[in-house]
């Protein structure tokens, strides 16, 4: 009799524990989803940039997902790089304009063909490679897809996937 009661109590305890755990997991999942970016935020995550009017060695700053995007058409005398976005004969640097050290926005010095970050003195060359100071990695390249003379940011085209596979960006 005593054992029987104990068995029943154990069962009740386990059943209660099981249901509580199940409800807890459900609640945690709902909480996690509530913190996810909203669909409207995600939908705004694509930007199309027309590159046909770009001037050589003039930095254009576009906005994508709230972040500044550097678009720099390389002049003929500037070094090309595997990180370049190639469109016909034109080479472009397309990169997220946030210093990879602490996220400041570097300024472009056109004469010297380099970016300089005022915050901690980091420098990047015109291909986005870090050449001086604390930045640990090159400027990041946003996911892009080439569509004629247009660039769609936020979508991974074959050129971007190749760069990613080659470890040129994250």
């Amino acid at each position: 009799m005593a054992n029987n009661t104990k068995g029943r109590r154990d069962f009740m305890g386990m059943a209660l524990g099981g249901f509580t755990a199940l409800g807890g997991i459900g609640a945690l999942y709902a909480m996690k989803r509530t913190w996810d970016p909203l669909p409207s935020v995600k939908a705004a995550g694509f930007t199309t940039i027309d590159l046909s009017a770009a001037q050589p060695n003039v930095l254009n700053v576009e906005k994508w997902r709230g972040k500044p995007i550097f678009v720099l058409k390389k002049a003929k005398d500037m070094k090309t790089d595997p990180r370049d976005v190639v469109m016909g004969d034109d080479h472009f640097l397309v990169a997220i304009g946030l210093c990879t050290h602490l996220g400041c926005i570097p300024a472009y010095l056109g004469d010297e063909h380099k970016f300089k970050c005022a915050c901690h003195g980091g420098e990047f060359d015109a291909s986005g490679h870090q050449i001086f100071g604390p930045p640990p990695s090159p400027l990041e390249i946003p996911p892009f897809k080439i569509d004629g003379t247009k660039l769609v940011l936020g979508e991974e085209g074959p050129e971007y996937q190749k760069m990613k596979a080659d470890g040129l960006t994250v």
Partner: protein
């Protein structure tokens, strides 16, 4: 059911006692809560903190009535509506801003008094741990509040601090975007930090304050000599009228009078800052509205986070992040890293005496270096050495305290 006196007048002492046990409550929390006699004014910092938290709560409630958690409206609701339109709105803002800064000064004093006198040691570990939990929660509270005016420093501090969660080379940007609810700090970010700042974190702080007081009730407060007092015996002496012979005094009204005096001096200092030097808690950069396409020339946190910011800075990305993470939690381990059984002021202990002052000075140096731009090689090197010294001191602590002779 308890026995009720039919003749007790409503709301009289007896009437309340029978329903609320007010006399028992008063005895347990005040008149028979025993405090050692030999403690100095530094022990009043707990009450100073409680009072400052109260002031932050009240001023925060008044700011809450006009603040708008919306990226388009937040900046003007603070800098125009509250500052210029709301009657005495400027007063609540300055009280809140100065309070948020000064509360950390008092927390640091409170912490270092505890370290100096060994108040974290055997029997009192939970006081220390609950206090450190309070410190961490206060840090989160300060950070989330710093976001709300939506100025340039708010925005970029939000950017940098949430970027830390990408875990360096782990590149966990999904996690960062989840925390922000957006790709960059935006509306979702502002509203959720608003929620944290005005509800969840203050609730947690209040709960932790209750826990912190609770952990104090049985081991009792430490004293200036680290003397082990038999509180029951001493209390009997006091109650028998041998006030001079007893080593303890009741918290209220006897010790509280000293607390109130210290608070009085503190509030002169506090309101001097509120009325004449509020600008020290207001970064000028934060009077520019947030702009995601323009960074301020030099990003730095408020003074109370500079020491840990400087520990993050001189190392490479991953190493810096690990060092920063350790610096945030290492103080929790203090009761377990200090291997000496001595509960005594640092001045009467062995090498710990030097350890204490070295740690304090090192953290002050880190604070100064954190404010300076790291582009200067000399300052960057001093910062690196100070950061390395910080870790060297923590590694040395168990060794030097193990060697300490028992007093």
């Amino acid at each position: 059911m308890a026995h009720f006196d039919e003749n007790a007048k409503p709301f009289s002492q007896k009437w309340l006692d029978e329903r609320l046990a007010v006399s028992t409550l008063k005895r347990v929390l005040q008149t028979e809560y025993w405090i050692p006699k030999n403690i100095n004014f530094l022990w009043a910092m707990g009450m100073v903190l409680a009072a400052t938290f109260g002031i932050l709560l009240v001023s925060g409630i008044f700011l809450l009535m006009y603040y708008k958690p919306d990226t388009n409206l937040a900046f003007d609701s603070v800098n125009y509506t509250i500052m210029s339109e709301v009657g005495y709105g400027w007063l609540w803002r300055h009280i809140h801003g100065v309070g948020a800064s000064v509360v950390f000064l008092i927390i640091y004093i409170h912490m270092f008094v505890g370290i100096y006198y060994g108040s974290y040691k055997r029997g009192r570990e939970l006081i220390w741990l609950s206090g450190m939990l309070l410190f961490v929660t206060f840090s989160a509270e300060a950070f989330s509040g710093y976001m709300l005016p939506w100025g340039q420093m708010s925005y970029w501090a939000g950017m940098v601090i949430t970027n830390l969660f990408s875990g360096g080379s782990l590149e966990a940007y999904g996690l960062v975007e989840w925390i922000r609810g957006d790709y960059v700090p935006g509306d979702a970010f502002l509203t959720r930090f608003f929620m944290l700042h005005v509800l969840l974190l203050p609730l947690a702080i209040i709960g932790l304050i209750v826990l912190h007081f609770g952990t104090l009730r049985l081991p009792h407060v430490n004293n200036q000599d680290g003397e082990e007092i038999d509180f029951e015996e001493a209390a009997e002496l006091y109650k028998a009228g041998k006030v001079k012979e007893s080593k303890v005094i009741p918290f209220s009204p006897v010790f509280l009078s000293k607390d109130v005096f210290v608070m009085g001096v503190y509030f002169i200092f506090f309101f001097y800052l509120v009325f004449y030097h509020f600008e020290f808690a207001m970064d000028p950069v934060n009077f520019d509205p947030a702009d995601g396409l323009k960074t301020p020339a030099h990003i730095y946190p408020e003074w109370y986070f500079l020491w840990s910011y400087e520990i993050l800075r001189p190392f490479s990305k991953d190493l810096g992040l690990i060092a920063f993470g350790i610096a945030q939690v290492i103080f929790f381990a203090l009761p377990f890293l200090d291997r000496s059984p001595n509960v005594a002021p640092a001045s009467r202990r062995g090498l710990f005496k030097y350890w204490f002052w070295a740690m304090l000075i090192d953290m002050i140096i880190l604070t100064f270096m954190g404010k300076l731009p790291p582009t200067d090689a000399l300052f960057a090197n001093i910062g690196l050495i100070a950061a390395l010294t910080f870790f060297a001191l923590w590694i040395a602590l168990p060794i030097i305290t193990k060697k300490e002779k028992k007093l």
